[in-house]
């Protein structure tokens, strides 16, 4: 095999040398298939889980007609969506209209490639890491990919050529861009502590000390809120706020393209849950016991750790659903001010605090381990008390004192009339941005 390809493979996994290229390629292919299958089936079952959990919260039964306990409901839904007619609005820009659902879905799926889901599996060809690609830049890869998800939504909103869709798309782009920053900054303490951006190293670091939820509590809270915003789940589901924007960016979608947005939403949810589990709850590490981290890896350990990981991920998925069926929705400006005025400064300040504490701990010669973690935990406990007991108290989300001043309102009202009257009927339209082909269909 030629050198550049080998180098690429080396980037994809540090195990190549240990196992050999052929084994690496085949095992990666198998892992891809397994992960993809479990992931897709899991996402399908999540739609059922959401309905069952919401039913439980709301004193209902939920779906219980298709299959035992409604277990085949996702299959029935999928079948229905495939059979349904695909509709295209006249004014829609078709290429993007068709691509958008896939663009929303693919990044969430791809992000899974770098998440380790179990302890390494020993085979006769060597130790195979239980991650599709153990990228050295694992975490940066995830940040990069999840940012791509917004394109699907924005393009769906724009290509539909519907005002509600457009508003949904605009909201989601603003929301995702804002929370991306807070999310990225909240993970910097994690990376500082691990000294690495590879997810398997982050897990390793947690296994040999305390979990990051204790080390970096505030970072976890920021990350969780940002993850809710990134996945467009309530209380941050403004892009599809059904009471305001009908269905937001997917108002005009039907059949399988429509359900692709749902699949994307659930896929994003799983990815976000997996990230929270990996970065703050030790990934596949079994708490307290050190058995699964010790050197002689066995298949049993792989299965046990995979189950542990599944439990952690499911817990966060449950939290996602629990919150969705409990809380009301934010308003757009509240969401933005929460993101920019609170989460961003908090994340920045937290980086400074954690970096100084780590500097102090390193200077005092404490080795990384449980003691180091406990010291960090003490600092975090104090910060959590200050933040949630003293600062918050319902003051972070400002009520809507944001009504426009009557004079401003009058000015705004006058603006349109002036501009409309100023434009003479025979005048050519002013040289503005070139109209894309899609808007030509607007004057129907």
């Amino acid at each position: 095999m030629s050198a550049p390809v080998l180098m690429l493979l080396q980037v994809a996994s540090r195990q190549v040398e240990a196992t050999g290229t052929g084994v690496f390629l085949i095992s990666t292919l198998v892992k891809m298939l397994v992960v993809f299958t479990i992931y897709m089936v899991g996402v399908a079952m999540l739609t059922l889980a959401e309905r069952k959990i919401s039913a439980w919260i709301q004193d209902r039964h939920g779906p219980n007609r298709v299959g035992p306990h409604g277990l085949l409901q996702p299959a029935a839904d999928g079948l229905k969506n495939i059979m349904k007619e695909e509709t295209y609005p006249d004014a829609a820009y078709k290429p993007l209209f068709i691509i958008a659902p896939a663009m929303a879905f693919i990044p969430a799926l791809t992000a899974w490639a770098v998440i380790p889901f179990a302890s390494p599996l020993p085979t006769r060809w060597g130790l195979i890491p239980m991650v599709v690609a153990d990228l050295p830049i694992g975490f940066l890869f995830i940040l990069a990919l999840t940012s791509l998800g917004v394109y699907g939504i924005v393009l769906a909103g724009w290509a539909s050529n519907n005002k509600y869709s457009l508003l949904g798309g605009l909201r989601s782009s603003a929301q995702m861009v804002s929370y991306e920053i807070a999310m990225g900054l909240s993970t910097i303490p994690v990376l500082l502590l691990a000294g690495n951006v590879t997810l398997s190293v982050i897990i390793d670091q947690q296994a040999h000390g305390l979990y990051n939820i204790l080390n970096l509590t505030i970072a976890f809270f920021i990350f969780m809120v940002a993850a809710f915003a990134e996945t467009n789940r309530l209380p941050f589901d403004l892009p599809e706020a059904e009471s305001e924007l009908i269905a937001g960016y997917h108002t005009e979608y039907s059949a399988m393209k429509f359900s692709f947005f749902f699949i994307a939403e659930y896929a994003n949810m799983v990815t976000a849950s997996a990230l929270m589990a990996t970065m703050f709850f030790g990934g596949w590490d079994i708490p307290i016991s050190g058995w699964e981290n010790a050197a002689p890896y066995t298949a049993l350990k792989t299965v046990a750790t995979a189950l542990m990981f599944a439990v952690k991920v499911m817990f966060f998925i449950f939290v996602f659903m629990w919150i969705r069926w409990t809380l009301p929705r934010f308003r757009y400006d509240q969401l933005m001010s929460l993101g920019w005025k609170f989460m961003l400064p908090l994340a920045l300040g937290y980086i400074v605090v954690i970096a100084s504490v780590m500097l102090g701990l390193d200077a005092s010669g404490i080795e990384y381990g449980p003691l180091y973690g406990l010291a960090l935990f003490g600092v975090n406990l104090a910060l959590v008390m200050i933040l949630f007991v003293m600062v918050d108290h319902g003051r972070i989300i400002s009520p809507s004192y944001g009504r426009l001043d009557p004079r401003e309102l009058e000015k705004l009202r006058g603006k349109r009339q002036r501009s409309a009257l100023a434009r003479r009927p025979d005048a050519k339209p002013a040289a503005g941005p070139t109209k894309p082909a899609a808007t030509a269909g607007v004057t129907r």
């Binding site: 009908i246 757009y332 509240q334 989300i397 009520p399 809507s400 705004l412 603006k415 349109r416 501009s419």
Partner: protein
């Protein structure tokens, strides 16, 4: 150039200098109806800085077929023009061709969340016209019906408002309680939504044996649900953030717009028809009229929540004092003879026939009665020329008057706030469009 229809009615050319909508000519000189074609000067609004958006008539959060045309600057509402009339059924005109007892089913259908309350209100109006004094038992039963329907209507308001602000779960909790009331009504009169509970001079049916047991059960369990919703929302930071300071109406503005009911009381004007112009002996019941001061969406929420609790208090007292005796007055001119008599005695059968075919006849005159419906002050006005059908019948719908303040309340707020404010008005389009 393609044809534009409805949208331009509201764009710049559709408004005169004061910003009021101008009438749109739908018929040109040829006499053929054509779609309104706008002058080219206002082409197309996407190039402008403002966006016109049509909220409704088919929209999940307009509570029926309300249509709000919003001019948006970004997401800020610069101008709001409500359109009503999509659910016009002509109830009032139909009423002119119906006997008084036959109008009662129509009152079910106008404010369909408050059917028993409407039945009671209409019967009160008709009885004032007839000059009838109803029995004690009937009065207490009507109070029970009116208060149950107030709770029912407020529960729908609560649930839909929660959905509009994004909290789905309280909707189902409140609908479960509503189901309990439905079961009570079903046991009483046989119908759930369109109850047609009252008749001129009495009730359609007496409560069955053991019914008050069910009522007392409801009185006992219902406050728990209210407390649960209260815990979920009242101090929830997001809920407070979404409702405080929204759509503020000062007391002066509220009175000037003619608001009534919880909308008025949330603005700090303590006016409740039940207390200030008592009917059905409301002055003998011990209940509070909740009043709040800020006049925003949050205060309307608090006022309605408290009203449900006060309704439970009234129900408790009514259930305790329910006297025995007849439900219908003893007046053969308006009350049908008992069924067994009508089937067995010739005179009663003729009486029954005459009363059903010709209907009870009130004296010449007119009557207006106003009651406190869940939405506000609801009035029924009827004019009699001495025949068995009213020559005029008119409803004073509180939702309609309250809705007229929506441009005042939403302009300057964000699009999401329009939904919350619209929910806080608690409109029923059946009543508005009639």
């Amino acid at each position: 150039m393609s044809r534009r229809t409805v949208e331009y009615e509201l764009s710049t050319t559709g408004l005169d200098a004061q910003g009021r909508p101008r009438r749109v000519p739908l018929v040109t000189d040829g006499g053929t109806a054509v779609a309104f074609e706008p002058p080219p000067s206002v082409e197309p609004e996407l190039e402008g800085e403002h966006m016109l958006i049509n909220l409704g008539p088919q929209h999940p959060a307009t509570h029926g077929v309300l249509r709000l045309v919003l001019e948006l600057d970004g997401e800020t509402v610069v101008r709001c023009i409500p359109h009503v009339g999509y659910l016009h059924c002509g109830f009032e005109k139909i009423g002119e061709y119906r006997q008084y007892n036959q109008i009662i089913p129509w009152t079910d259908r106008e404010d369909y969340l408050n059917s028993p309350g409407n039945n009671v209100a209409f019967a009160l109006g008709a009885e004032r016209l007839f000059g009838i004094e109803i029995t004690e038992r009937c009065k207490v039963l009507r109070v029970i019906a009116a208060e149950l329907s107030r709770i029912m209507s407020h529960l729908v308001w609560l649930g839909t408002t929660c959905i509009d602000i994004g909290a789905f779960t309280p909707f189902l909790w409140s609908f479960q309680e509503r189901e309990n009331i439905y079961k009570l009504l079903e046991d009483w009169i046989g119908a759930r939504l369109t109850t047609s509970l009252t008749r001129v001079g009495g009730m359609g049916a007496d409560i069955p044996a053991g019914w008050t047991q069910g009522l007392n059960n409801f009185i006992r369990t219902f406050p728990k649900t209210i407390d649960e919703v209260d815990r979920m929302l009242t101090r929830n930071a997001i809920w407070v953030g979404r409702t405080v300071g929204l759509g503020v109406m000062t007391p002066e503005e509220a009175v000037n717009y003619g608001l009534s009911g919880p909308m008025l009381r949330a603005s700090g004007v303590a006016y409740d028809v039940r207390r200030d112009f008592p009917y059905l002996d409301y002055e003998t019941y011990d209940f509070d009229v909740p009043v709040s001061t800020h006049g925003d969406v949050y205060d309307r929420y608090l006022v309605r929540m408290e009203e449900m609790r006060q309704s439970v208090r009234i129900l408790q007292q009514a259930s305790a004092r329910l006297p025995d005796g007849p439900i219908n007055i003893d007046d053969p001119r308006v009350i049908l003879p008992p069924k067994n008599k009508a089937m067995n005695e010739m005179e009663s059968m003729i009486h029954h026939f005459k009363l059903v075919m010709e209907g009870p006849r009130p004296p010449i005159g007119e009557a207006y009665v106003a009651v406190e419906s869940p939405k506000g002050e609801k009035g029924y006005y009827m004019v009699s020329d001495g025949t068995s059908k009213p020559v005029r019948w008119r409803i004073r719908p509180p939702s309609f008057v309250n809705l007229s303040a929506i441009p005042k309340m939403v302009e300057g707020h964000l699009l999401s706030d329009v939904i919350a404010i619209n929910a806080s008005i608690d409109i029923v389009m059946g009543e508005i469009d009639r």
